[in-house]
Every structure is written in C-alpha cells, then in structure tokens.
C-alpha cells in the first residue's frame, strides 16, 4: 500500500469488494436452498400449513387453567386459554403465554443423566433402560420408610400415582411444596377456615359479586391462588353494568400490583393487620348496632390507630364504608399472613365477613368445591412441615429422595438447611425438565417431558364455582429424549417386584389415567358423557378435562365465627434492624419463570424493571441515608445477607423495604443463572401457628456498598433518555 493510498481509500475499496462478494454468495445455492421434510406419515386430521389445536392444561403454576395450543406441522406456536374450562374461560396470564419458551428452551435436560459428583456440571448420558433400573433398585434395595417423594404443588395424576404407591408399600406419603404456596400462606388460610367454619378448606372469595372489597395483603391480581380467575372477579367488581362500580381497599405496607388498583391504599405498619381488621370490625359493628360480637370486644380503635399508623378518622371512614355496604367482602392473604400472628390475622379478616353476613352468598366467602375425583382437600406442605422433613433427611432417615416439579434448593429459605441435609441422603433422583439447582445436587436426573408434551390431569383447587378436573395431553411429540415420570415409575415398580409391582399394575401412563378418570363416567351432571371409556377419554382430551355443570361451592358454617376470641396482639419480628422486610413473589416471573427469556423481558408491573432483582425503598428514607436509585446496598438479616440495587419506590412505608422473589438462580439455564438475588437467603426459621413461614416477620439492616448497578427499566425511555448502563457500545 503506497503512502498516498490512504487507509480511508483502502476501506472504501475493500467495502466495495466485500459488498460484491456478499451479493454474489448471497444469491448462491448455499444460502438460497432450504430443505423441507414432509411428514413420513401425516396424521389424517392434519393439512400442510393448517393449524391443529389441542386442549391441555397449563403447568406453569398449580392453578390448573385450561389451554388451547395452536400447532403447525408438529410445532407448538401459541397458547390461548380454553374458553370451555370454567376456571379461566379462555384467558391466560403472562406465564401461560410464555410456557412455549419453556417447551423450546435451549437449556432443557435432554437425556437421562448420571452426575459424576453432586454439584458438578459434568454428567454422563445414560439410556432409559439403565435409568429405570436405577429407580427400580432404589425402590427395591431400601426400606419403604426410607424412600421419599418431594413434588410440586399441583394436585395431579403423578401425585395420585405416588400416593397410591406410598399407601400400598409403606413409603413416605409424597410431600407437595412450592414457594408460591409458602408466600400465599395456604396452610394459614385452610387452618383459619377450619377454626372458624369447622372445615379445613381453601376459601373462595367472590370478588366479582361484591360491592366493597377489603384486601389485607392478598395479592390476588398477581400470583395468589388462581390469578386468572381472581382477575376476572376483579373485572366483575369494577363492571358497572348491573350494579354500582365496586370499591376496593388494600391494606399493605408496600404497594403491590394489586394494591395499585385499589381506590384506597392503606399503608399500615406491618404486624398490625389483625388489630386493624378487628378495629374496623368493632367500629362497623357499632355502626350496624346490636350487641358487640365477642371477636371484636378486646380491641381499642384509638390504640390501634396509633399502633398501625392509620388515622382514627380513616379507620372510622373505612368502617363506615364496610358497614354501609350490603356486599362487603374481606380477604386475608400474602404477607399479612406470613407473620408470627398470621393465623390471628386470617381469622380476624375472615370474621369481618360475618358483619356483612356474606357467607355462602354472592359477593361473599365460600369454600372451594372439591374437584370431581377428590374426596378431601389436600393442602400442600407448609414450610414447617418441610422443616420437619429436612430434619428427617439430616437425621439420615431418608435414604432415597425423588424430586419432581419443585426446586427446594431455590424455593425453600436457605436457613432451613435443605442443602446441608441432602448430604445425609444417599441417593437423590431428580425428574427435572430443566437443569435447576436441585437437579444439579442430584445423583441422577431422569427428565420428565415438558407439560405440553405430557399426558395427565390436574385438580383445580380453587377459582371456579364448578368442580373442575383439567385434562392434559401432549400437543407436540417430545422434543428431547425425555420420558414421562409416571411411565418411569410404573416400569420401575414392575422391575422392583413385590408390593411395588402389585401397586402399579399398569401397562403405561395412559392406562393408569384411564383407570383414574373412568370413575367419572358414571356421574351425572358432568360436562361430558359417553357410553364407553374410549369415547369418554377422547372427549376428556378434546374438551380439556371434565367439570360439573353446577355451582358446587360450599357455604361455610359460620354460626359462631364472631363468637370466639381472636387475639389482638401485634406480630413479633425476628432480627435486629431498622427496616421491616417484605419479600413478595414477582408477578411476572413467580417461582419458576426466570428461565423463560420473554418473562425476563416483561417489565415488572409496578417498577417496570426487567431482567434483575431490586430492593424497593421509600425515596424519603433513601434521601436520609444518602442512597440513590441503582445504588447497591447490602441487606443483612439474622439468617443471611445479600447485595442488591435500590429502586426508589414512592409507594412503600419509610420503615419497610421489599424484594421480589423469582431471581437469584445459580443454575436453571442461561437466562436465569447468575441474575439478581434470592430473598429466600434472608429468611429465618420462624413460623406462625398454622405452620406457615413468617416470611414477612423479619427486620433487616441496610448498609451502603458504594457500588452502582443500573437496573434495566421500561419507564426510563418514556420521555427521558439518559439512564443507560454506563458507556455506549
């Protein structure tokens, strides 16, 4: 290159050359010709380029919404709600939409694996015969009482199979657990129902029929119990077609997405929920007149006002609102129940409903109907029951642990010591679809199909007036070398022989399912009926399940709901520190959404943050501490500490901080790993009387670190550029 021939000229010429060759090769056969593989044997109901639709059940959470999945040429393209399913009536939440990013996730477990050592990334691929032999040996070579199953929250056919197996062989009954159940405080709800109504059951709140809704911490528009159903209820509350537009008041220390929709948001001091509920009850009873119910006797509204930070006038105004409406409904839930006095809060709030006498009436409190093939309410394990189980593991009483549909290493508070206790278990076998934390600590991973590749059914625990059994069928053939866990267990049980073989005398999963569902053929008032099993099962798959046509919600027996003493104590808080700590489930990610890239990219509904964890802090407090947006702070609790960037959140009490749960994975695929923090690391071992974790009953310290970590947020682009991530590149 001569000195006169400048670099710039050279680049120009080189550019022309590159463009020419790009054009020429771009037209060449290599890039132009694609290969097309037609079906070897096309299903007769299929046409090329035409969509085929299958009904199945969403497996992203335990609610059991029905899905219709659009498939083209054997690929799943889009999920929609099943309009026939009485639970979700054709609607889905964001997680249901993103379930395809789980099905086609690049980080699924592709084959059965044997791990060289626990926690290591090096695995050896096995074939399924050897894998099933491992399961058979585990069943055969251990005492039944040393074998345990840990499962997800969904009451599904696998749970029924393992329950049958356990009761026939003396194995430990399967434990169902999930972080959602822990943060919803399901055990507290059913215990409170038992105490007040004499029946352990999941209450159903008819938000849609109410005129005034008081929610004490219940995040029913986010992840609580059955979000799609409750969102429909909320739309009914607001709908002004046949009645007045309903009012909604939310009591919580940090404005949740649900609280953001409230007409009045009452930031009470954490721990005073029971007091406030009882005080409103007392004031409302006074307005209504008559004898003061025993439940509200020993509460002092003036004292409550000073303790809770709510003005007395506000309490009186709220009581007037509650007493003045003939459709008032009070809902307990979320962080309000996850405190040392959570059971008292639940009872106090449920008792409020007695004032408007709405038990078993439209716009009131019901008990959820049992699913069609269910004889009693099966509650998932509470955190305390999990603690007992972990203790059993630590004591060496469990030799073999099977894990399916749950990720205890991530979902359980670290302080419960699952990780340490698992070292005393000689063999851990995971059936995980994704390489999650627990699968990484397992000796073997025998991957189950993704939910959209599986047969099955799932009982709907709550959310529908009709009893619903959602049906699941594969919408696509398995993408990887996975196998249904039910099939693995049936085959392994045959190999193990003895009582195992006789407990599961089935050819395969479908035969087991047919046996379970066939009992419904004889029932009247069902959504489908058929003279023979083959037709009945075809209808069952075609319509996405079986449900009763009638409203079978149970009216609670609430005779003395008000005639019992309810403790009017404040909650106790564990740990030292100036801040109340509120962990909440991320409305978009929930407990298992972090590996789905589009769920990561959904902005959080309140903060609009994407792809990370933040801690919410009142701007005033932050100003006093000299903390700004995106400053990383260290949060220290009695159980642990973590570092997380600050989001200045205008709708949180100055004495409270909040962290979303859902990120902070150390495994679980490329989109989840090493992203954000897990607030479960901060939680201590404190439980309420019902055995639920007192996750909102901690106090924590906040320390500055001097580091900044900008959060990606959607709101920054609206009008204002400038919040970037450091240097442009």
């Amino acid at each position: 290159m001569s000195e006169k021939f400048s670099r710039r000229d050279f680049l120009k010429l080189a550019g022309v050359g590159a463009a020419t060759s790009a054009i020429l090769t771009g037209c060449g056969p290599a890039s132009r010709y694609v290969k097309r593989e037609p079906y070897m044997q096309m299903p007769e109901y299929n046409y090329n380029g035409q969509s085929t639709y299958y009904a199945t059940t969403c497996r992203e959470c335990a609610a059991g919404c029905g899905l219709i999945v659009r498939t083209v040429q054997g690929r799943a393209i889009k999920t929609e709600g099943n309009a026939g399913n009485p639970l979700n009536l054709g609607k889905t939440c964001a997680r249901g939409q993103a379930t395809l990013h789980g099905l086609y996730n690049p980080d699924r477990v592709t084959d059965p694996q044997k791990r060289s050592s626990r926690g290591s990334g090096s695995t050896q691929v096995m074939d399924w015969d050897a894998a099933i032999q491992v399961v058979a040996d585990a069943l055969k070579n251990n005492k039944p009482e040393e074998i345990a199953f840990l499962m997800g929250m969904a009451p599904d056919h696998l749970f029924d199979l393992v329950s049958d197996l356990a009761s026939a062989t003396g194995m430990n009954a399967p434990l169902r657990f999930g972080a959602l159940g822990m943060f919803e405080a399901r055990a507290t709800l059913s215990k409170a129902a038992e105490n007040l109504f004499g029946e352990a059951s999941l209450p159903f709140f008819d938000v849609g029929g109410a005129q005034v809704v008081f929610s004490f911490g219940a995040n029913f528009l986010e992840t609580w119990l059955s979000p799609v159903s409750y969102t429909r209820g909320f739309a009914g509350l607001r709908e002004a077609k046949t009645k007045m537009r309903g009012k909604f008041v939310q009591f919580e220390s940090r404005m949740s997405q649900t609280g953001g929709k409230a007409d009045e948001w009452i930031p009470l001091r954490p721990g005073t929920e029971a007091l406030v509920a009882l005080a409103i009850g007392k004031l409302a009873s006074e307005i209504r007149g008559g004898a003061m119910p025993r439940a509200f006797e020993n509460v002092d509204p003036i004292d409550t006002a000073s303790k809770s930070g709510i003005k007395l006038e506000t309490l009186e105004h709220l009581a007037g609102m509650f007493a003045g409406s003939n459709g008032a409904l009070a809902i307990p839930g979320g962080p309000a129940l996850g405190q040392s006095n959570g059971l008292a809060v639940a009872e106090a709030v449920l008792a409020l409903n007695a004032i408007s006498d709405n038990f078993g009436k439209p716009g009131g409190v019901y008990l959820s109907p049992l699913a069609p093939n269910q004889s009693e309410y099966q509650r998932p394990a509470s955190a305390q029951e999990m603690q007992e189980f972990v203790q059993k593991m630590a004591d060496g009483k469990i030799k073999v642990l099977f894990v399916h549909g749950v990720n205890p290493l991530f979902e359980l508070p670290t302080a419960l010591g699952f990780g340490g206790a698992s070292k005393s278990v000689s063999q851990i076998i995971s059936f995980a679809t994704f390489p999650d934390e627990t699968a990484r600590e397992a000796d073997y991973v025998f991957p189950d199909h993704h939910g959209l590749e599986s047969w099955g059914y799932q009982r709907v625990a709550t959310g529908s007036a009709q009893p619903v059994l959602s049906g699941a069928q594969p919408v696509v053939s398995p993408y990887y070398n996975t196998r249904a866990t039910v099939d693995v267990l049936i085959t392994a049980a045959q190999l193990a022989g003895g009582s195992f073989a006789s407990a599961l005398p089935f050819k395969d999963e479908v035969e087991f399912l047919n046996g379970k569902v066939s009992a419904l053929m004889g029932e009247v008032d069902g959504s489908i009926s058929a003279p023979d099993l083959a037709t009945f099962m075809a209808y069952f798959q075609q319509h996405g399940g079986y449900w009763k046509n009638s409203d079978e919600r149970v009216a609670p027996k609430a005779g003395d709901a008000l005639n019992r003493e309810i403790s009017a104590e404040e909650a106790e808080f564990a740990g030292e520190g100036e801040f109340f700590f509120v962990p909440f489930v991320s409305p978009t990610l929930a407990e298992a959404g972090a590996n789905k890239p589009w769920l990561q990219e959904l902005p959080d509904p309140t903060t609009t943050v994407m792809w990370n964890t933040w801690v919410e802090m009142n701007p005033e407090t932050a100003h006093e501490l000299g903390i700004e947006n995106d400053d990383v702070v260290r949060i220290v609790s009695e159980a642990g500490e973590l570092e997380v960037p600050v989001y200045l959140y205008p709708a949180i009490r100055p004495d409270t901080i909040a962290i979303p749960f859902g990120q902070g994975h150390t495994a679980y695929g490329r989109y989840a790993e090493n992203r954000g923090v897990n607030p479960a690391d901060l939680l201590g071992q404190h439980f309420n009387e019902a055995g639920d974790l007192a996750f909102a009953g901690m106090k924590v310290k906040v320390e500055k670190t001097g580091v900044k970590k900008p959060l990606s947020r959607l709101e920054s682009i609206m009008g204002v550029y400038g919040i970037g991530l450091g240097e442009e590149h």
Binding site: D9, G28, V34, K35, R36, P38, M40
Partner: protein, 184 residues
Amino acid sequence: MIKSIFDWLKQPLGLIAVGITVLTLFSIAAYGIYTTQQAPEQPIQFPHQTHVAFGIQCLYCHPGASKGPAAGLPSQAKCWACHNQIAKTETSALLAPLKEAVQSGTPIQWVPVAQVPDFVQFNHRAHIAAGKNCEDCHGDMSKVTIAQNPQVFNMGWCLNCHVESAGEDHEKLVKLSDCGTCHY
C-alpha cells in the same frame, strides 16, 4: 492520490487491466445469476411429467393448495401407497431413495423450488379461489421432470396480475394493491 490511479489507468496497459477486470466481474456476476436459476439438486429426480401423464391431479399430492397458505409436499406414506403396488419400485434406481426412506423411516429432504421470501405472506387458497390454475404460476408440469422454476416470483409480476384481475372494480384494486395484503 485517486487522480494518480486514474492517470495510470489511462495508459494502454491500464486499459487492458480495466478490460480484464470488467470482464472477470461480469463473468462472475453472470455465473452467480446462472447458478441461482438452476434447479437445485433433489434427493429423488422426481418426474412430474410421468405423474401428470397418469392423470394424477396436482391437488392429490398437494392438497393444501385449495385449503390454506401452503400447498405442501406429500408424506412419503402417500408416495408409498401407490408405489408399493408398482413392481418397478423394487428395481428402479430412480426410486431407490424412496424405498430406502420408507424402510429406514427417515424423511426425504426435498428442496423447495417455488418460494417467496420470508417477508411475503402468500396464500395458495385465495389464488385457487380466484380462479387461478397451478400452471399459471408453476408452469406446465407435464413437460418437466423435477420441478423447475418457470417464473421468477418478483413483486412486479405479482402486482401485474393483481391489477389485471381487479379490472374496473375499485374496491378490489385497493385490496389487491395494498402493501398489507402480502407484507406483514
């Protein structure tokens, strides 16, 4: 500096060099375009004319054309339904890949010939319904062995026909010349 290059190029030697370069570029371009116009290599040298001669309708093997966007390729089970009754299938070298594919259960990988870019949303059904015949776009299949692309599917060609078929009907013209009819 650019000027000195031009001066050099004006010499006879330079002119020859320019000529050679232009010629080379032209032949590369011509070859490039030539290759794009070749029928691609197919797994089976499928004789369309033989099948048409037997009186098999296009829609028998490509039934999607009258029902939806894609005409589709027949599954090999469909090929085999006829071919396993034909003695020649056992001996013909041309049909060996089909026999192999059916017996081993591996799909045949065809190379599509008539295709439009990803940003064009083409629907066969609407065209069949509007009275177009297969040969209007795909040529006379009774004359070719493996499918060849008789027509370059460019936008001008599409639009000509769209405008023509709309005729005097203004509403139809609006619909058929709307960008959003094909591009979304």
